[in-house]
């Protein structure tokens, strides 16, 4: 089944938003537990964007960001990504009590940030699996510190083979007041989106 993204019904978008909400709520709880700090999140946005606009959502193509990428496999396929700016990444490391980090590309820093991405993604997928009765398995995380356009292009190429538009389910995380701004989003491929909608009964 192929889905035409800009023809998704309000009900379908609502269902995706609710799934996003539950997933992100779980992810925020997990993050809060490892940091032992309060973590807030925004209500997830579920929106269809033209591909070329995506880098603009993250401060422009040349904006330098830290990204953790996980792929999902099983009944659904696609990508999960946790993006944050360098300053937030350093604050996150500080909250995790990783000492003496000068730069996010140090081995211990990358490893810790990947672990955060891993925990967020896994708890997100856990609740998604639970509600949809689909089996979804995450890959190990990958790390990148580079231009937003370059990082995003790497995951967009997959969906872009079939569509000029991309459906993003995205949530902002705010940790420790507003000191840490993280951005988490899910990018299901088109076929998987159909499977997901069907599994929750809004085909």
């Amino acid at each position: 089944m192929t889905i035409i993204l800009n023809r998704l019904s309000l009900l379908q978008l609502d269902a995706l938003k609710e799934l996003g909400n539950i997933g992100a709520g779980n992810a925020a709880t997990a993050l809060s537990q490892i940091l032992n700090k309060k973590v807030d999140m925004s209500v997830p946005r579920v929106k269809v964007y033209p591909i070329e606009e995506i880098p603009e959502l993250f401060g422009g193509s040349e904006n330098i960001v830290v990204g953790v990428l996980l792929r999902m496999f099983g009944d659904m396929q696609g990508s999960l990504m946790f993006l944050l700016d360098e300053e937030s990444a350093l604050k996150l490391l500080d909250m995790m009590m990783i000492p003496d980090v000068q730069h996010v590309t140090e081995e211990i820093a990358m490893s810790a940030i990947m672990e955060v991405g891993n925990i967020i993604s896994s708890s997100y997928l856990n609740s998604l699996s639970f509600f949809s009765s689909l089996t979804i398995v995450p890959s190990t995380p990958g790390f990148a510190y580079d231009m937003a356009g370059a990082i995003l292009g790497t995951i967009l190429f997959e969906v872009s083979e079939m569509s000029d538009q991309v459906l993003l389910i995205e949530t902002d995380f705010l940790g420790n007041g507003e000191a840490i701004k993280g951005h988490f989003f899910v990018l299901p491929d088109l076929q998987s989106l159909g499977i997901l909608l069907k599994s929750v009964g809004v085909e």
């Binding site: 591909i51 070329e52 190990t140 995380p141 231009m147 356009g149 370059a150 292009g153």
Partner: protein, 159 residues
């Protein structure tokens, strides 16, 4: 006055000197420039994928159809493909996974597809800055054909 013409993701543009063509944040995508030194006419494409499964649409997103469309436009502007030179950059592998590597090949496959298509058109490829793990921003000066490549960490260079 020279103007800077921005080429977005999955897009291509052509222009004349002294303008400049620029595309930002190439990861696994490839920036392709084709330039005629004598006429000071050139084009730049930012492709995401190697081969277009449906050549009737999304032509600028794929290496094969983007190069085809861009060269035709250049020819309309009076360019002979025998006179042009091409420079390409991008095709990096942005994420290093400890285990799986099914995503690793897209940058490489893009580069291969671009080279194949250029060869098919009989276009000389004089600079190839592909692979690696870093994103790139490129700017083509249509006045002299110089290509500025900006990489995070290692700064700028002209090729």
């Amino acid at each position: 006055m020279s103007q800077q013409i921005k080429v977005g993701m999955a897009d291509y543009k052509v222009g004349n000197g002294p303008d400049k063509l620029i595309t930002l944040g190439l990861g696994s995508c490839i920036g392709i420039t084709i330039y005629d030194k004598r006429k000071k006419i050139g084009g730049m494409a930012h492709i995401m994928l190697p081969k277009n499964p449906d050549p009737s649409k999304a032509i600028a997103k794929f290496a094969d159809t983007a190069i085809d469309a861009m060269t035709k436009e250049l020819e309309k502007m009076g360019v002979n493909l025998k006179d042009v030179e091409s420079k390409i950059a991008g095709g990096a592998q942005m994420f290093t996974f400890s285990s799986s590597n099914e995503m690793n090949s897209i940058g490489f496959r893009n580069a291969e597809a671009v080279k194949q298509e250029l060869k098919k058109k009989g276009i000389r490829l004089i600079v190839e800055e592909t692979g690696g793990n870093s994103g790139r921003t490129i700017e083509l000066d249509l006045d002299n054909g110089n290509l500025k490549i900006k990489t995070m960490g290692s700064g700028e260079k002209y090729v």
